[in-house]
């Protein structure tokens, strides 16, 4: 069992305990809370199905190791776009990525490219359906666009300030 799952189980246990405690303290509002929770769960169940499919597709067709290797091979503006796309397509925990990125730095990859890559990782493709459900398609597209612009700008800022 992973650490994240353990934390989740402890968290869930604490939440269930809170519900039980509030029930025994005689709070009727607890039924409103329970109803709200089931409503949210019902609303999100379809999203989880879509997330599952997206996780499957991404794992099936995208190889993280190849991404890291690929943005090593390009230079100039092209390299920043590769780092950007790599960041968007990369998946898995940041903790898993850090040692790999550090080893790329040691091999000579520019910090500016890693900055672009790391900020682009804030776009989580499998979870976009959930963002659309909560915030709408317009919000999601605009936010993703600005994150991409922000990723590139950060890379250029680091390049100008530290690498030229």
């Amino acid at each position: 069992m992973g650490a994240y799952m353990k934390t989740g189980i402890i968290m869930l246990g604490l939440v269930i305990l809170s519900y039980i405690s509030l029930y025994f303290f005689g709070s009727d509002t607890i039924f409103v809370a329970l109803k709200d929770s089931f409503k949210t769960l019902k609303e999100l169940s379809f999203v989880f199905a879509v997330v599952f499919v997206m996780m499957f597709i991404i794992d099936m067709f995208i190889d993280d190791k190849k991404i890291a290797k690929y943005f090593d091979t390009k230079s100039g503006v092209k390299a920043y776009f590769i780092a950007l796309i790599g960041g968007i397509l990369s998946h898995g925990s940041s903790y898993a990525w850090y040692p790999l990125l550090q080893s790329l730095r040691e091999k000579g990859i520019k910090d500016s490219l890693l900055v672009t890559f790391l900020y682009a990782r804030s776009i989580k493709l499998p979870w976009l359906p959930m963002m659309i459900v909560y915030f709408g398609t317009g919000f999601t597209i605009i936010l993703m666009f600005y994150i991409m612009v922000g990723s590139l700008l950060q890379g250029f800022i680091v390049k100008k300030l530290y690498e030229e």
Partner: protein
């Protein structure tokens, strides 16, 4: 190919199964939050001023931990309760890009200089990106 499909299906299933307890916990918390925290209470924390709301959103996101989708659920519920788009967008961005909890690990792996650059830029861009997003939404009449 069959094996690859099987492997990817299994991996997707395990990934989702691993986060299910946390998802259920957050949904349970959201229920409690909606029932016990009134919009009036939230408005006292987020007062509608751009700078104030941005700041609260960023700090809340930076000290929070968990998978990014949690910020979507929490942010979405905050929005339903009348919290401004500025605060919610800043919260989502800083939740995903800043991590106070991760700082020691980042420093250990990347060193102080690189970690500082990454986090300072992420902080600045949480403000820029959230303001730009909300302004664009307003200009286009989407909110």
């Amino acid at each position: 190919m069959k094996d690859r499909i099987k492997k990817s299906l299994k991996k997707a299933f395990i990934s989702l199964a691993k986060i299910t307890p946390m998802i259920l916990a957050v949904i349970g918390l959201v229920g409690l939050f909606e029932a016990y925290v009134t919009p009036k209470m939230l408005q006292s924390l987020f007062n509608g001023s751009l700078i104030h709301d941005e700041l609260i959103g960023i700090v809340a996101g930076a000290v929070s931990i968990g998978q990014p989708f949690l910020s979507y659920i929490i942010g979405g519920e905050l929005l339903k309760d009348g919290v401004s788009y500025y605060a919610v967008t800043a919260f989502i961005l800083s939740f995903v890009t800043l991590g106070v909890i991760q700082l020691p690990l980042q420093i250990e792996i990347f060193g102080k200089r690189f970690t500082t650059i990454v986090n300072v830029l992420s902080l600045i861009f949480s403000v820029i990106v959230s303001v730009a997003t909300v302004w664009t939404l307003k200009v286009w009449g989407l909110i």
